[in-house]
């Protein structure tokens, strides 16, 4: 017994020693490798042709990669053109990136070019004097920014330079990358996505309003009561158990009418430029959404588990094709893929026309001011190089490079038009690591512009996957059938007659932050709405629903819904005087 014990301890101790020594040597070796570019940076002053090392923190990318110097052809191209070696630190959304940024800001260790992860941080960055004013640098190194995105410059000067007290020196501290519109011409971002094959089987019953959908969904449940695995199906289901579960109740119904929800209480009409209360107006899109889901529940069309489901649970049901209606491509993609894999590509979801006859619809969000706000850190030793890089990213050439890869390597110019190489298309389709290796679309979130911006040189979308020929190749069997039924080429064309299809989110920027009293109203109201709107879906009769709705509106008024909307309306009027 004692012997065994002893041996155990010896084993344990030797393990420690072993691990310790190998760790020390292993780390040392690795560090050497990582530290290699450092000496080159130090020598840089002696030999000017040595590339300048810049660190840059960035948003998260769709496919993550390890922080550090990248070796792909796209990054090599940047190095070749600008003589910059970029140490890139992508955000990792595993935990709170805002908190991490705040800690870095507090301890004063920002990279040369830093990304501000939240709009709530802009004024704090200004107050902390952490950013370099860009104005002089712009004149020298930012010609493309001034030429191509004057709005972003104006916008930044006017709205983003304020400190926590709202004071501004009128200089430019932030440059927005990305943004514009990223609308895919193929289909809209949010709309009724319906099981097209079942609708066809039912003989294309009329679907002009959202209420028309309910009986059709009930019919579909009769037509296909069980999925391929013998599990019960539902017309629609939700993920109300998740923190953002109310999205499906509010957002789509607003977008159908060309309106956006502001906070939990307000509605912004993007055509009329009107700000109204969504809670206390009984005819608002908010109430349309709640009433629709209530009716769905009363009719047995809504999955009874919706109330406790998380987003993960929703994905499971969607992938198993146990639901007939979704609100966005990412709601129903799993189902489409399952049909595809089961060898039944004729089944699937199709994005239907808008469920109303209004002439406005919100097809996508648009951020002409840019989406990812970058600033040059005061600590940076090479602000002029940082500016050069930002300028390149904004330029057509830069955006083109980030989104599509290197000309001659990943795409060619044929008859004056860009053409993506077949091997790139194949690579993207078949190799999950293709983006990381090739650099194509790897850094999409630091491209200067949005995907559907028009490239001045070719007069085509700057993202070549949006070229008309490429878009057509992406059509599925169902999308082809559906578009043909409506006499269009692409599902997205169903919305071409709507006006103001892109939602410009820049209208509220420059608004002062809520006062303490309003913050309190906001918190209370949000809590009340998030809890009670979902409970209202469970109400059993229309009569009871109307009574509860009246109570709800009264309570919302009591909590200050009108007050907070009024404040917004007044501030917006004030803003108009200085809006761009």
């Amino acid at each position: 017994m004692a012997k065994i014990k002893k041996r155990g301890w010896i084993l344990f101790l030797s393990l420690i020693v072993l691990l310790g020594t190998s760790l020390a040597s292993g780390c040392a070796k690795r560090e050497k490798k990582a530290a290699e570019p450092m000496p080159t940076a130090a020598k840089e002053e002696v030999k000017m042709e040595q590339p300048i090392v810049l660190t840059m923190s960035t948003p998260q990318f769709e496919k993550s990669f390890q922080a550090g110097f990248q070796e792909d052809p796209v990054m090599k191209e940047i190095e070749k053109r600008l003589n910059i070696k970029l140490n890139i630190i992508p955000a990792n959304a595993v935990s709170d990136i805002n908190a991490k940024f705040a800690a870095e800001l507090a301890s004063g260790e920002l990279p040369d070019i830093a990304w501000a992860p939240s709009a709530d941080l802009y004024n704090k960055i200004i107050s902390a004097h952490a950013a370099v004013p860009m104005d002089e640098l712009l004149e020298k190194y930012g010609q493309d920014i001034l030429k191509r995105t004057p709005y972003r410059v104006e916008y930044s000067r006017k709205f983003l330079g304020k400190d926590v007290d709202g004071n501004s020196d009128g200089k430019m501290y932030f440059l927005g990358l990305r943004g514009d519109s990223e609308a895919d011409p193929l289909q809209v971002q949010v709309g009724p996505y319906l099981r097209y094959d079942l609708w066809e089987k039912l003989g294309f019953p009329k679907l002009e309003t959202m209420d028309d959908y309910l009986p059709v969904l009930a019919e579909m449940m009769k037509l296909e009561p069980k999925n391929a695995d013998g599990k019960k199906t539902y017309g629609v289901t939700g993920w109300f158990g998740d923190v953002w579960g109310d999205w499906a109740i509010n957002a789509p119904f607003g977008m159908f009418e060309g309106k956006a929800q502001i906070g939990t209480w307000g509605s912004w009409d993007m055509v009329k430029k009107q700000y109204t209360s969504s809670l206390t107006d009984p005819d608002s899109f908010f109430w349309k959404g709640v009433a629709w889901f209530n009716k769905a529940n009363q009719m047995g069309v809504l999955d009874p588990d919706s109330f406790t489901m998380k987003w993960d649970n929703y994905l499971e049901k969607a992938a198993a094709n146990r639901v007939f209606l979704g609100w966005a491509p990412w709601n129903i993609d799993g189902g489409n893929q399952t049909f595809e894999k089961n060898g039944t590509p004729e089944k699937g979801f199709f994005q239907m026309p808008a469920p109303n006859d209004l002439d406005q619809y919100m097809v996508s969000f648009e951020q002409p001011q840019g989406a990812q706000m970058m600033f040059i850190s005061k600590k940076s030793k090479h602000p002029e190089k940082a500016m050069e890089l930002l300028n390149f990213l904004i330029s057509d050439e830069g955006t083109e490079l980030i989104l599509n890869g290197v000309k001659g390597v990943h795409w060619d110019e044929v008859d004056g038009k860009p053409q993506v190489k077949q091997e790139v298309l194949d690579g993207l389709k078949n190799d999950p690591d293709y983006r990381i290796k090739s650099g194509v679309y790897k850094y999409h979130n630091i491209a200067g512009r949005g995907n559907s911006v028009i490239n001045e040189k070719y007069n085509t979308p700057i993202y070549f996957m949006y070229l008309p020929d490429v878009v057509k190749t992406r059509l599925t069997t169902v999308q082809k059938a559906g578009s043909a039924h409506f006499g269009e080429v692409l599902p997205g064309d169903l919305y071409k007659d709507k006006k103001e299809t892109n939602f410009d989110t820049s209208y509220t920027t420059g608004m002062p932050s809520l006062t303490d009293g309003l913050k309190e109203i906001d918190t209370k109201l949000t809590n009340y709405v998030k809890t009670n709107q979902i409970k209202m879906i469970l109400i059993k009769t229309d009569k009871e629903f109307e009574a509860e709705k009246a109570k709800f509106i009264e309570e919302a008024k009591k909590l200050g819904a009108d007050e907070i909307v009024k404040w917004h309306q007044e501030e917006l009027v004030k803003l108009k005087g200085q809006s761009l």
């Binding site: 902390a128 158990g241 009874p304 588990d305 406790t308 993960d312 209370k524 979902i534």
Partner: protein, 318 residues
């Protein structure tokens, strides 16, 4: 100790040697404790300078002493969201008391385990009951969901087939059952892991006590009651007291995943509440104020109960 004293008194020659040894012992003891205490001060108490953030309008990157002093503004703000707070505190305390009530369970499990005499079986059970501790809350929820869901959930299916219920029930959306259900989840997840502490403590019990009990003809049950249980009491009391200090903290992750609109009014605890108001406001000073408030209340509670026990019992637990 008495013997030592008598000896010193009796023999003055050894007195000096003893004295020397005593000072040496004292020095060694200082060396064995002070560095660690200094360590604790550096790693845990120096960061508390940051609590000053609660009294100024803190902006990351602006030094504290250059920040605008606001006094107790953020502490007042914490309570100004008024109407929700009584409900939130009621939930927190209710679930806190339920978890204190369930505090003996790991100890009971350890005693039951110690009654299993076949070592292999014992080890097997020990290992398996600790497993739930390693399952992340998100997965815990997805497992509970797949078992409890109204549509095709395992439990509902069985109950329906056995005709015990005529309509599926949804425990996850049952407001009335929330406190008990959440306590159950907590027990299920922690009981096997918590028992490990008591398994260690059982080994400290003097085997002679068991021998004596055996001679007296006490059954194994009586032995457990009169030897094992008292032997575990010191550990239990300390852990219970620590639990009292934690009355106001709940398992945030658990509340977060099991939270939904239907059970909101019963499941929202102080931690979730601070998360909710903090998230909206993005306010470092406010969140620090909340942290200060919680730390101070917990410590007050802990030492108050300790003091009361000292008054009643004659000696304190910590």
């Amino acid at each position: 100790m008495d013997i030592v004293h008598n000896q010193t008194r009796a023999n003055p020659a050894t007195c000096i040697i003893k004295m020397k040894r005593k000072t040496k012992t004292g020095l060694v003891l200082w060396l064995m404790s002070i560095p660690f205490f200094v360590f604790v001060m550096i790693f845990y108490f120096v960061p508390l300078l940051g609590w000053s953030m609660a009294f100024v309008r803190y902006i990351p990157g602006v030094p504290i002493f250059e920040s605008h002093f606001v006094g107790f503004k953020y502490f007042k703000a914490m309570f100004s969201y008024g109407s929700d707070l009584p409900r939130v505190i009621a939930n927190t305390l209710a679930m806190g008391f339920l978890s204190i009530l369930s505090a003996p369970l790991p100890m009971v499990l350890a005693i039951l385990l110690s009654e299993v005499k076949r070592l292999k079986i014992k080890k097997f059970i020990q290992t398996t009951v600790a497993l739930p501790n390693f399952i992340s809350m998100i997965i815990v929820y997805s497992i509970f969901f797949s078992f409890l869901s109204v549509d095709g959930g395992f439990i509902n299916d069985i109950l329906l087939k056995l005709n015990l219920i005529d309509k599926p029930t949804n425990l996850l959306a049952n407001e009335g059952a929330t406190w008990y259900f959440q306590t159950f989840v907590g027990i299920w997840k922690g009981v096997g892991w918590g028992a490990i502490i008591y398994l260690g403590a059982i080994t400290a019990i003097d085997p002679q006590l068991y021998d004596a009990a055996n001679v007296d003809g006490a059954s194994r049950f009586r032995q457990a009651l009169h030897v094992t249980l008292p032997g575990l009491m010191p550990t239990f009391c300390v852990l219970l007291l620590l639990g009292v200090g934690n009355l106001l903290s709940s398992n945030f992750e658990q509340v977060y995943v099991f939270h939904n609109a239907i059970v909101h009014n019963k499941i929202e605890t102080l931690d979730y509440y601070t998360y909710r108001i903090g998230l909206v406001n993005f306010d470092f000073s406010l969140s620090t104020a909340i942290g200060v408030f919680k730390s101070v209340t917990s410590l007050t509670l802990l030492f108050l109960v300790n003091l009361i026990i000292k008054k009643i019992n004659g000696h304190s637990i910590i």
